[in-house]
Amino acid sequence: MAISPAEASEIVRKKDIRSRWLLSAPALILIAVAGVGPLLIVVVYSFLAPGNYGDVKWEFSTEAWFNVLLSRDIFDDTVTLADAHLSIFLRSIQLAIVTTVLCVVFGFPTAYFIATRPIHTRQIWLFLITIPFWTNMLIRAFAIQEVIRNEGIVNSLLMGLGLIAAPIPMMFSDFAILVGMTYVFLPLMVLPLYASIDKLDFRLIEAAYDLYASRFNVLMRVIVPLVKPGLIAGSILVFIPALSSYVIPRVLGGGKNLMIGNLIELQFGQGRNWPLGASLSVTLVIIVLFAMLYYVRNASRSGGTHG
């Protein structure tokens, strides 16, 4: 049977499509099972009613979503803004932003330092940067505690030197959380920044100096715009886990300095309100999504006008 050229190309096209789907199947399955699926479960749970001893009752309810932002007085049913939730959201966002900024402040010089070392010593530096990753985050949080608690290394050193009479209280504060998160997430900033700075053409820096740029202008007008991809990647990598951080605020922030992560955990634990926990989680995802959209857009736009 003769096949016309059009039919032949149709067959080839179909085969092509089939093999393409087959090749991407593992990735698609993984995304469905590990990404979309759990997220869907969370979304579904957020629209259910809480069970008596945790778990959920399978009846549709928007009560959980209502409780994310608002709270109903148990006696007279007046509705007010849920101040506790709002302030925790706000605090979490603030802490995540400050952590990101601190990671840039400490990470940029570190990455720059590593990228300007001779090629064979760079690997040693990068290795040192990644070592903390091998340790459980809980252990690292306790290590930080050991450094900054009242009888910790910093305070005993300062008191030993006679610089202070009484220990400076640092534990269980936002400061402690920031120290912990900056320490834990710093490698996530350093590595993408290093990759960007490594690709930077250092002759451009010479060219800028040659054209009368001051050190500050070389940094702001040449280096920063050119390593922007690394800066953006690093900021995203730090901001997201910092925002949903759980272990660090739990260990270093104490009971009263909650972040979103702790609030969510509370709903699934003592709170026994899984739907509220689920709706808070979805809210967190939405916040992250918008933050990223805003940030990436802003960064790329300013890149356009600056340049």
Partner: protein, 351 residues
């Protein structure tokens, strides 16, 4: 520049170089790679500090100033254009950093764009331009702040031959129009000869000879200079007499010819004499023949024919003949040939 020395560790990149470059001059540093010419340039720009010596600009010491405080700009070998900026922003960068008013920057940028013929490209990102256009942006960027000295580090080496030729003419034009001193670094002798007012030939961190293109080519002082620039025949000879600027030398063949010699030297005894291949004539052996030899090889090059001759004493000698349209040169391999030299073609080298 006085007694400049630059060491990198134990390696002496630049060794006791003293140069005086006049203003409005097109000055070229010529030498093979690794001769220290780029290091010298980087010291003028301020990217390297001389280990010893001083760099004066209009009588003022600048050797210790950082690059952003020197009225000197550089055109880099790979242009080093800012990839995140447009053509106009690249060109205006220097003026902006100098804090010039916006109107002035815009006007100068517009002038520069016209000068380097990039009209209509102002808003393009430099990454969208061809190599030749990028080259011109690099030039305009370095010229825009009106530096006293413009340094050019092999700026044409990345371009293809045709573009290079037209950029050579362009560069010379820009230098004439702007009146800025150009210090040009190249390893390409032809480029140096085409554009320069004066050339400094360098090797092993030292300046071997400074002079006009004509002096460098026709009056090489040293073997290195004669060998590096163009093709040369080296002959051994003996000085017979010296009078004024000319000496008489006796060649190995016994013939005596006049020869010039470098200033501040008095040639005597055994010397090396150079004769450019195009300054020698091949002819049948006659009384006018200064040298005699047999043809070893004949190479036809289109414009010229090269006759590779082995002289009677075994020295190789090349004659370059311009081709006419009358067919092959008429000689054959193995033929015995006489070589005639005019009275002003030989130059004695410093030992």
């Amino acid at each position: 520049m006085q007694n400049i020395v630059k060491d990198f560790g134990h390696f002496r990149a630049v060794n006791d170089v003293t140069l005086k470059i006049a203003s409005n001059e097109f000055f070229t540093l010529l030498g093979p790679s690794g001769c220290g010419k780029t290091t010298l340039l980087r010291m003028i720009a301020g990217f390297e500090m001389p280990t010893k010596g001083s760099i004066l600009l209009d009588g003022a010491e600048i050797a210790s100033l950082p690059p952003n405080q020197r009225p000197i700009n550089t055109v880099f070998q790979n242009y080093a254009l800012f990839p995140h900026m447009t053509v106009a922003d690249n060109i205006g960068f220097g003026l902006k950093m100098l804090g010039r008013p916006k109107a002035e920057i815009e006007k100068t940028v517009a002038d520069m764009i016209r000068l380097v013929r990039l009209d209509g490209r102002e808003k393009n990102l430099v990454t969208q331009l061809s190599g030749g256009q990028q080259q011109r942006v690099a030039l305009a960027r370095a010229l825009a702040p009106q530096p006293k000295v413009l340094l050019l580090d092999e700026p044409l080496s990345a371009l293809d031959l045709k573009l290079r030729k037209s950029m050579q003419i362009e560069l010379k034009r820009l230098q004439m129009e702007t009146g800025i001193t150009f210090v040009f670094v190249t390893h390409d002798q032809e480029e140096a000869l085409t554009m320069s007012d004066r050339i400094a030939v360098m090797s092993d961190g030292q300046v071997r000879q400074i002079g006009s293109p004509w002096e460098i080519y026709d009056r090489p002082a040293e073997r290195f200079v004669a060998d590096f620039i163009g093709e040369t025949n080296f002959l051994t000879a003996e000085v017979v007499s010296v009078s004024g600027d000319w000496a008489r030398v006796r060649l190995a063949s016994g013939a005596e010819i006049p020869a010039s010699f470098p200033a501040n030297t008095t040639p005597s005894g055994k010397v090396t004499v150079v004769v450019r291949p195009e300054h020698a004539r091949a002819a049948p052996v006659s009384a006018a023949s200064v040298l005699r030899g047999t043809i070893h090889d004949i190479v036809y090059l289109g414009t010229d024919t090269h006759l590779h001759v082995v002289l009677e004493d075994g020295t190789p000698f090349m004659v370059r003949q311009q081709n006419a349209r009358s067919g092959p040169c008429g000689y054959e391999k193995g033929e015995t040939l006489g070589i005639e030299l005019s009275d002003d073609v030989a130059q004695i080298l410093r030992d």
